[in-house]
Symmetry: C2
Subunit: 342 residues, 2 copies
């Protein structure tokens, strides 16, 4: 069976580079026979990471050399101007040129966003790309955006985010009319900023399934499929989640480590503790999408391990299969018709 | 021993009114013989909730009748204009008149903030009051503000929040030079909004112990004592914490309820699970301070039970003892001197 999906992986991005990307790529290929991968980066580093790989899997991997690497703390503007042969830039170029249908990078978020926007451009009708990610919630997931691509958004931007979020929720989690909520600091009409109130009015008039304001705790309640907010707020909320989950994890560890009895308990309770860890494992949620671009770009966490990076590749393949950019364009057209009263 | 501290409690506020406020008041008095309380609200409702109370404790409670109640969903402007004899308003008046040194209310946050600001006024040098609360963190607490009093802040407002937060951290947790962090979406200089960047420059020039930008996950890391942000972001972050903690709590319950074996485990592990619940119990953190006012006002969660409301009374007494408003004024003066290069 020939591969129908080709993905470009930034082989040098993230804290670990090829030592994580290559094993994740091989693991992913062993599960999916319809995908082939292009590893972008330093040829010799990638070749040596591939040494000993299964020959059948190896056949579906092509190395594309790139001489530069974007550092994790590099300014986006510097990366854009000075790193035209970076593994990140070349991987995005491959999407632009149609050689790959999506790319995945664990590199510096700001540089990835700036470069993707510069190379791929936004979809017609979209002013700004956004970062979206599924968040675990009661009974499933909530898709939240923007998680940090841009601060200081207008009401129109928030409406565009709602359209993009709806398209992703439908594509990735097969939700027909995703319930869209606008993140605010109170449920009453009077609260929030003027921008949020204006966006709420626009969403009420839209063809989307808008359910009104939601608050920070509602993200996890299962009553909303898409949570829309500007990037500063979304990023703080996302990082807050990480921080709380980590702290509670540390509490659990401490309490089970308190004395000989509790340590024995931890052994006996291992299946339960493992199940808990699995459910709160951030690696299962690794892979945020940069949406609103003329192409699919997935951002993996910089510190992602093999399991986490493989999940990001999985999301890329899924978005290719569902053609998320085309879905966004269609929803935008519906929205335009709605506004023109057609 | 005569009472040295007098606190006014809004007896009708919150979801439960006197049925929570009165038992919490009695429990608090049984632990503290230096405090007396004024219960404000409907006289007969409060009298009947006090029936059967210990006579010694009862001596330290005075009822102050108020004929109206601010509803939980009432608009702040309506409460301000139309409810001049509400239990909330009268309790704040008692602080203004010097009959009480602080007040505690579980009533509607918007109305409490608007009324407090109108009656008590802000401190000289403070443009806007803020809501501050201790957040559990590794090794202690982080004081975070603003948690929802005002959105759309200027850099100058954020600086004032930092001053207020430092004063509270010193007063409440005895931290001499609290480490102040400014909430942002990246640690690099280039990220964040213009307001945040301007505030960072002002904080760097201030006499405060400013450590730079922090992100949402750093709130819990123990490396920062005061986290400063505008109210929209702070409120979303706070509600996100509540949501995540609740969801993980539900996960733990589900996993221990999965089958007969795990239910048996839950019984055996009860001491550990109890300790965990105690450490993540939101009631222990109930009681947010409205700071920046010429007086002490503590907001309890609307749904607070007796344990939670008692904690809010405890915070009020502590802020009276430490005279938080005077501490803020002193820090502001230091700041003025610093700016004038004295």
């Amino acid at each position: 069976m020939s591969a129908r999906i080709t993905l470009a992986l930034d082989g040098m991005g993230g804290d670990h580079g090829p030592s994580v990307v290559v094993p994740a790529a091989l693991a992913f290929l062993s599960r999916r026979d319809d995908v082939s991968l292009i590893l972008v980066g330093d040829e010799s580093a990638l070749e040596s990471a591939l040494e000993g790989a299964d020959t059948d899997l190896r056949k579906r991997i092509r190395i594309h050399h790139a001489s530069q690497v974007v550092n994790m703390d590099e300014l986006p503007s510097q990366a854009l101007r000075g790193k035209k042969d970076s593994s990140m830039r070349v991987a995005i170029n491959l999407v632009k040129q149609g050689e790959a249908q999506a790319c995945v990078s664990a590199g510096n978020t700001g540089a990835l966003m700036a470069t993707s926007r510069f190379v791929l451009k936004t979809l017609p009708g979209i002013d700004r790309p956004a970062i979206i990610c599924p968040i675990p919630a009661r009974g499933g997931h909530t898709h939240m955006l923007d998680l940090g691509a841009s601060a200081d958004c207008t009401a129109e931007h928030l409406l565009q985010f709602a359209v993009m979020g709806s398209a992703v929720a439908t594509a990735v989690h097969d939700i027909e009319r995703p319930k869209v909520g606008l993140l605010n600091i109170g449920e009453e009409e009077i609260k929030g900023t003027e921008t949020v109130r204006d966006a709420s009015a626009m969403l009420s008039d839209s063809s989307l399934n808008y359910i009104g304001y939601v608050e920070g705790n509602d993200i996890f309640g299962g009553g909303v499929d898409v949570v829309v907010c500007e990037g500063f707020v979304g990023n703080v909320s996302l990082k807050t989640m990480e921080g709380v989950a980590k702290m509670i994890g540390a509490y659990i560890k401490e309490e089970f480590n308190r004395n000989a009895f509790t340590r024995l308990l931890a052994l006996v309770a291992m299946p339960v503790l493992r199940a808990l860890r699995r459910r709160t494992d951030p690696r299962r949620y690794n892979g945020a999408s940069l949406v609103g671009l003329q192409g699919i770009v997935i951002k993996s966490h910089g510190g992602a391990d093999m399991v986490a990076f493989e999940n990001a590749i999985h999301i890329a393949a899924l978005e290719v299969k569902e053609d998320v950019p085309a879905r966004i364009s269609r929803l935008l057209e519906d929205e335009d018709k709605e506004r023109q009263g057609v």
